[in-house]
Symmetry: C2
């Protein structure tokens, strides 16, 4: 069994990006991400620290703009408008979910699509569907693609089964894998005989959000299993959607949780911000 | 074998829409489609006549705006801007493909997303992906959904195989069927053992654009086969992507070509224009 860890993928990607960032620096440009955080959610703070560390190590900047948890829609929209207009900001990341009083749908229209680094705007969705390559895909499915690419796993003609059809992972991943010539099946709670559908796959991707749901009965020898889930098990430990212990004994390769796909997302975010900076440098 | 013809679907849908159009008429509103046609392509003229007949029969209007085949990008954009601003126009349909001197990508940004009746704008694509229901899907995949609904074919938990991954049919259909709880597989030219993938399906949809490609070796008993192809065979006759003669002898149900899915598209167009008129009436 081969364990497909995220760190080597993130390190390699960051190394490649450093060269591109140095080139931008020669023209006086520092790729800059503006994080907009409402309140103090632990998840957000942890992701923020990870991004700051990753960016600093590569010569890029992160600005953090915080708003109180009880802020108004107008406060949020004003912040997003200001950042959309600021030529020093290349990418904008708004942490979600937002507190209940705020509308995500209304907020997103205040983000310049050219600075949308996590596929949050209509322009991002359109680019994903048309394959125009003119906007960034969401970071998590993009991290899965980086991982497969890093480990030399070609998708052409492969059967991929994705369990989960969310807007942030399942659906974008389906489109990204289809673009790489995989034969893609999307399964979900209403799928008949889900274990059988999963066993058919050459590459099985779990993004359901249910701790250890994919057990030994869902897999067969020779499969590559990608676990996108981040859950907490009964013992209070971080775990994926895949029951690592039983599945890793069968599959050919598997991504662990933690230390798998999740370790790559901040490097992907750095890639997206760098790409936005490069595009903006070309235009100006 | 059951032949799933398009005409009863289109007639039923039109009948339902008439009631909604009468209600709009009570408020002085006539759902109005503006067709923008560049040049005189036979396909466009034939579709135009079909739409005019369908709309006239239901109490709705079609305006045809023609531009010479050698018109400039500015001419096209001015026409689209004018129609986007005209409160009497509810929907805009630009015939494609455009002549080589014109950019489709640039043209589409001049169409008001609220009048996009064939999912041509970024707002339309975003609605398709997010499932917001705030914009119209493309007419052809929507016609497939109307057909399945009319014949009482429930998609929940069914295995659907779509052969073809185009932006106008395959990809939107995948999203629309996923939203109806089908387990969807998308196949294409790079799929390994395509006949076997097709035989697994409960519902097989062909949208490849290759005359009679899906023959008896791709199907099994009990399947529902939906043929979205419109091609011309060696003898010069209209035919689908499915070899009707051999497949109809095996499948449980099949849509013919002609007289199948293609017969429903103008009724779907009428539905989309009516919905735009209703939405605009609500807003004003």
């Amino acid at each position: 069994m081969r364990e497909l860890r995220g760190k080597p993928v993130a390190d390699d990607l960051t190394q490649q990006l450093k060269t591109r960032i140095e080139k931008l620096a020669e023209n006086g440009i520092t790729p800059t991400l503006a994080i907009v955080r409402v309140g103090e959610r632990a998840d957000d703070l942890s992701y923020e620290r990870g991004a700051q560390k990753r960016f600093a190590g590569a010569g890029a900047d992160v600005q953090v703009h915080t708003l109180p948890a009880d802020c108004s829609q107008a406060d949020l929209e004003n912040t997003l408008t200001m950042l959309s207009r600021d030529p020093a900001v290349d990418g904008i990341l708004l942490f979600r979910p937002l507190p209940a009083q705020l509308s995500e749908t209304r907020a997103k229209s205040f983000i310049d699509p050219a600075k949308d680094v996590d596929c949050f705007t209509d322009g991002g969705y359109a680019a994903l569907l048309t394959g125009s390559g003119k906007a960034c895909p969401p970071c998590t499915p993009a991290a899965v693609m980086e991982l497969l690419d890093h480990y030399g796993i070609d998708l052409t003609g492969k059967r991929v089964t994705i369990v989960g059809r969310s807007l942030v992972v399942g659906k974008p991943l389906m489109l990204m894998m289809l673009a790489k010539n995989a034969t893609v099946t999307v399964c979900h709670t209403r799928t008949a005989d889900l274990p059988a559908e999963c066993r058919r796959a050459d590459i099985l991707v779990a993004c359901v959000g249910k701790a250890k749901m994919i057990d030994a009965s869902y897999v067969r020898e020779g499969q590559i299993v990608v676990d996108v889930g981040i859950n907490v098990d009964e013992a209070g430990n971080l775990c994926g959607d895949v029951d690592y212990e039983s599945v890793s004994a069968i599959a050919e390769a598997i991504t662990p949780v933690p230390r798998g796909v999740g370790s790559i997302t901040t490097a992907v975010l750095l890639k997206h911000v760098t790409e936005c900076a490069e595009r903006s440098a070309e235009t100006n």
